[in-house]
């Protein structure tokens, strides 16, 4: 079963072509890594998939649904979740509240102007539990602004997972983390079951390479190389792209 199918995706900003005829197929349960030098268009590709940017041409399909014209917020309801390169969570709110929001986004409760959020036991419990699962249960009531960068990264991933996604897009989840923190995040990702398909953008080869089943290499808005780990690493074009820079 195909989790994500992208066909001939095109996007230009003025004269700058950031996506050129991208074809990408990710199978359900797969662990896909997207790499490429800066400016390759990787994050833009994610934004095209989530619907934050509208493509000029081509299509995006999530499992059986064509989501090309679908507004971004509805894609979340179809099981698409994403983390960002720059963490943009809610710094003045507690970790618990951040997680509550990610649970709320997919719940009918979010429209309810009378239901007291603090009294929603089921939601509160699930939020605390998810924080505990990533080892942050003890600081659930701390404001996000008072946590470390690594802790925030984990919160962000936990929030994405709280959306019970079928496809999870991770944009440089290891960026800016210490060695210890990388190991923690790596361990967290290993616990994600295979009914969640993961597509990751990463720069740090050491951590990412052994995570991926298949690797896609992008350059200047195009997919240049794609295949299993060994093939891609051996491919001369890969080296050219990275060393030729």
């Amino acid at each position: 079963m195909t989790a994500l199918a992208i066909q001939q995706l095109d996007k230009s900003f003025g004269g700058l072509r950031v996506a050129r005829g991208i074809d990408l197929v990710v199978e359900a349960g797969e662990r896909r890594l997207i790499i490429g030098p800066n400016g390759a268009g990787k994050t833009t590709l994610f934004s095209l998939i989530t619907g934050e940017i509208a493509p000029d041409g081509g299509s995006v399909a999530l499992f059986d649904d064509d989501i090309t014209r679908m507004p971004a917020r509805r894609r979340a309801h179809l099981g698409l979740a994403r983390t960002y390169q720059i963490i943009t969570l809610f710094p003045k709110d507690t970790l618990l509240h951040n997680l509550l929001l990610s649970l709320l986004g997919l719940s009918r409760l979010r429209w309810n102007p009378c239901a007291r959020l603090a009294k929603q036991d089921a939601l509160q419990q699930e939020a605390r539990q998810r924080l505990a699962e990533i080892g942050l249960g003890h600081i659930a009531d701390r404001p996000l602004a008072q946590t470390s960068y690594g802790e925030r990264r984990r919160v962000e991933i936990a929030m994405a997972l709280a959306q019970k996604p079928r496809v999870l897009l991770l944009d440089e989840p290891f960026a800016g983390l210490s060695l210890e923190e990388r190991r923690e995040v790596r361990a967290l990702l290993a616990t994600v079951p295979r009914d969640v398909t993961i597509v990751m953008i990463e720069h740090d080869m050491d951590v990412a390479l052994d995570f991926a089943d298949r690797i896609t290499v992008m350059h200047l808005g195009e997919i240049v190389v794609e295949g299993a780990r060994a093939e891609v690493v051996a491919d001369p074009r890969t080296r050219e792209i990275y060393l030729g820079e």
Binding site: T50, E52, A72, R73, R74, A76, H77, A81, R82, Y84, T88, L89, F90, K92, D93, T94, H97, L100, L101, S102, L104, G105, L106, S107, L109, R110, W111, N112, P113, C114, A115, R116, L117, A118, Q120, D141, R142, P143, Q146, M159, Q163
Partner: protein, 323 residues
Amino acid sequence: MKRVGWAVALIVLAAVPLWVGGSFYVNIVSQILIAAIFALGLDILVGYAGLISLGHAGLFGIAAYTVAILLEHGFGHSVAIIAALGMTLATTMLFAVLALRTTGIGFIMITLALGQLLWGLGYRWIDLTHGDNGVSGTSRPMPFNISLDSADHFYYATLLIFVAVLIGMAILTGSAFGASLRGTRDQPRRMTALGFDVWTIRFIACVMSGLCSAVAGILFFYYNEFISPHALALSASAEVLLMVIAGGSGTLLGPVAGAALVVIMKSVMSAYIERWNFTLGAIFVLIVLFMPEGLVPGSRRLVRFLLAAAKTGRGAAPARSGG
């Protein structure tokens, strides 16, 4: 502890006609409550949705004018009030659809223009509104056959409505929808990615805000038995916005404090301080410089600081609690 505070406040407010010293002052408190209702409604947008509106006096005014004009043409109070609520609701929805095309400064500009549109109509559509002369009323409604003519009775009616609005705000801000709204203020992009419909959330906030403005406008008309275009001018929109910001946007009591500040300055202090407008302006500038988050949060911070300093015997910076 908090509950005791609320209970005391309620008792104090309920007893106002007894201790405040004459119907002049009872009327002042009525004015404060009406302004507070208006400010609380605006705060839904400013403090919770993060959208600054400089045109809210237009919504306030259209409610007041609808009641005034319908009464003048012989309709009863119930019809006039319901029509005013409906008219304001419709206008708010139209304005929201237009204004929500932008955010930030664009939203400020477009709400200013929309407010000016309504002001212009009030000022110039003389056949309907008598222009600068305004529209007068002659009677107040009589709910359950109780007359509201006296200052005390009108005050109690206003107090009841104010308490209802305040309770409504408290419920709203603590609710799941309230959390959704605040989320769209802080990180709209992230909220969309989480599955929230940011536009619709903001639209609903606009409608709620418009409803409060309508209630305030209707009360305002009955209080004065008069409405003129002056109530829709840019300065009126600016004034209610200042009440919210100076008092502390995004808090329950901030708009109330701001309303009290402005009304007291205008109605009471103007008798003692000749340059009260200047003083009010200076207070606003000082608030921005020293308590930029507003009077209520700023005072809380000050009190906490003083308490902590008293406890430890030396200055201690209290940690900011979450939320």
